[in-house]
């Protein structure tokens, strides 16, 4: 792993819209989304239920197709009123990391292989993939559980392994969906601290979707999403000063 490798430009979203359905029954889930997250930066994405957070996350994760707009990842235009990349599966695997509310580790793989699976899927040799996984596990202080099965880990350990999995292919962007929801304050803050450290170390842009009042003050920048529109504001940036 080349620590500190510069990922150019981070992620840039301009005028993204998403409409479900057609005609009278059409619903505009996203009306005007504009975001920019720089490499090494962790931003919060906050909004009430039904505001379009999940839809935005799915669009950013190339799981559903936006209706219009433009998305740039690094220097690569991913979406410009249509996908600019044919293999979205490879895009998700190589360019986007995911951290979920629950860790969703693969229960039949040990910790190392849970992390190493992504580079393996990308065609890297097993030994090299495992080496990268172990390096990340060490960086996240869970290397001592490398041979354990997910069911043997605590909630915090599972979430750290999930973060390692999201980072292992060194994607320019990580999408974290309520990553601290099941954790207590201390562990939630620890996870955010880890995300910030990893973002700086690997120059990854991280977008954290959250409701969690405990961690909202930790963001330096926050995007509020309401009624399908994003509004940027400065955060308190506590805890990491």
């Amino acid at each position: 792993m080349e620590d500190g490798t510069k990922q150019a430009e981070g992620i840039l979203i301009e005028g993204m819209r998403k409409r479900y359905g057609e005609g009278d029954t059409a619903v505009d889930a996203l009306k005007e989304v504009n975001m920019r997250v720089m490499p090494g930066e962790v931003v919060g994405l906050i909004g009430p239920s039904g505001s379009g957070k999940s839809t935005l996350l799915k669009c950013l994760g190339a799981v559903i197709e936006p209706t219009a707009g433009r998305m740039t990842l690094g220097r690569e235009v991913i979406y410009d009123n249509g996908w600019q990349i044919r293999d979205l599966r490879a895009l998700r695997r190589d360019k986007i990391g995911f951290v979920f509310q629950a860790p969703y580790l693969i229960p039949f793989l040990d910790v190392t292989d849970n992390v190493a699976l992504l580079p393996m899927l990308a065609g890297h040799p097993n030994a090299e993939s495992r080496k990268r996984a172990v390096e990340l596990l060490e960086a996240l202080d869970v290397a001592h559980r490398a041979a354990a099965m997910p069911s043997q880990l605590s909630g915090g350990e599972q979430q750290r392994v999930a973060i390692a999995r999201a980072l292992v292919n060194r994607p320019p962007v990580i999408l974290a969906d309520e990553p601290t929801a099941p954790l207590d304050s201390q562990r939630a803050l620890a996870v955010i601290r880890i995300l910030n450290r990893m973002a700086r170390q690997y120059q990854t842009a991280i977008i954290v979707v959250t409701h969690d009042e405990k961690i909202i003050p930790t963001f330096r920048r926050i995007y509020h999403i309401r009624d399908g529109r994003t509004h940027e504001e400065a955060g308190e940036g506590r805890e990491f000063e």
């Binding site: 799915k58 799981v63 599966r89 695997r93 039949f108 793989l109 292989d113 992504l118 393996m120 899927l121």
Partner: protein, 394 residues
């Protein structure tokens, strides 16, 4: 790339192995059914092989002596012996009945043979062949009879002087060989009351009740000059058809070669049974497929969230499909091994011969793999329809 299927199986091996064992018992039943059919065919072939005959001479327009009743005169063999190409010929009778030994009955085919002629058991596992004209028997070991035991056939007791093996009728009943004369008597023997009644009726008939005639008629009524078939061995240098054709033509009898008799036994005598077993095999194959499909579908549905995550992080559809298909085939392999072992263990316990042929096992293995692949398609279809967005929620 690691094998996701193998890891999943190892993670939940108990569930997988026990499911495979359940499936294996079903596969064992399927293999046994195939073995029952093979056993029936083999019994039929053994019956022909062990008779030592090349030709079967039977009553005209019958499929005798095994598939239909046949009755020919017991002196017929003499004229057949004189036919060109005939090395040896002997009369034979077949009668399926209950043979009593002590307090128990054994279902057996009683075969009347001429000592040293065609039709005697080809080999013995104990004792000797029949040497006397009356009241000696050679029994198949499956009857459970022992050397020196007395067995009762109709009104007479016979001493078991020899034991043979794999001498069974086409129905799987073990054979008991007795001298031809005894067998003829047993086949048509009337009870004493019937004989007295028959004599009185004959004596009351003025046409027979004349000096010298009455005794001859009564004598003919109480003896049986018929046998079921004449077994013929042919001389080297002659083909079966070369010898059979003149007998058909000049003796006006039905003659079957070994190939024809095999056709009668396999294609006609056990045809219904084979269809019955074939039907069972089809049903068992469908049930096995349904069980594998259900199990694999259930296992896959239990991993929907993991599959959604795998798809979201970029796992190819073919990797997920391969995982499910490999698990289905793995389940089939466990089932096959358990089934083969089970069938091998319980086959000898069946009352009739069960022949487990390696070829059937191989065909069964291929069928199981095919069925498992087919059965996994439903689960694969469900897995491929999983939306990766399910992992994100919302």
């Amino acid at each position: 790339m690691i094998s996701l299927a193998a890891r999943d199986v190892l993670h939940a091996w108990g569930k997988f192995v026990f499911t495979g064992m359940g499936l294996g018992l079903l596969i064992g039943v399927t293999l046994t059914m195939a073995g029952v059919y093979r056993g029936m065919v083999d019994d039929a072939k053994v019956l022909l092989n062990n008779s030592g005959a090349d030709l079967w001479v039977v009553q005209q327009k019958t499929l005798g002596p095994y598939a239909e009743p046949s009755s020919v005169h017991d002196d017929l063999y003499r004229s057949i012996l004189a036919m060109p190409g005939v090395a040896d010929a002997a009369s034979v009778t077949y009668l399926t009945m209950q043979v009593r030994q002590g307090e128990r009955d054994v279902r057996a085919m009683v075969v009347g043979i001429v000592p040293d002629g065609p039709g005697v058991p080809g080999y013995l596992v104990a004792g000797r062949q029949i040497t006397r004209s009356h009241y000696e028997a050679v029994a198949d070991i499956a009857t459970g009879f022992k050397l020196g035991q007395l067995i009762r056939i109709r009104r007479h007791d016979y001493t078991v002087v020899g034991l043979t093996r794999r001498m069974v009728s086409s129905g799987g009943d073990p054979m008991v060989f007795i001298p031809l004369r005894d067998a003829q008597e047993a086949q048509f023997l009337k009870d004493n009351d019937a004989i007295i009644s028959e004599r009185n009726r004959t004596a009351a008939n003025p046409a027979f009740n004349r000096p010298g005639v009455l005794e001859a008629v009564i004598d003919s009524q109480s003896s049986n000059p018929f046998v079921n078939a004449v077994l013929v061995q042919i001389k080297p240098g002659f083909t079966a058809e070369e010898v059979a054709e003149p007998i058909r033509r000049w003796k006006r009898l039905q003659v079957y070669t070994r190939a024809q008799m095999e056709e009668i036994l396999v294609a006609k005598l056990i045809a219904t049974s084979s269809k019955q077993i074939g039907m069972f095999l089809v049903i068992l194959a469908i049930v096995s497929a349904a069980i594998v499909a259900f199990i694999i579908y259930t296992l896959t549905m239990g991993k929907i969230r993991e599959i959604a995550v795998l798809k979201l992080i970029g796992t190819r559809n073919r990797t997920i499909a391969a995982m499910i298909m490999q698990q289905a085939v793995g389940l089939g392999l466990i089932g096959f091994v358990v089934g083969k072992i089970s069938a091998t263990i319980w086959a000898p316990m069946f009352p009739k011969y069960v022949l487990l042929e390696p070829g059937d096992a191989l065909r069964g293995f291929i069928a199981i793999v095919f069925i498992c692949i087919l059965a996994s398609l439903l689960a694969i279809r469900a897995a491929l329809k999983v939306d990766p967005a399910e992992a994100i929620g919302g």
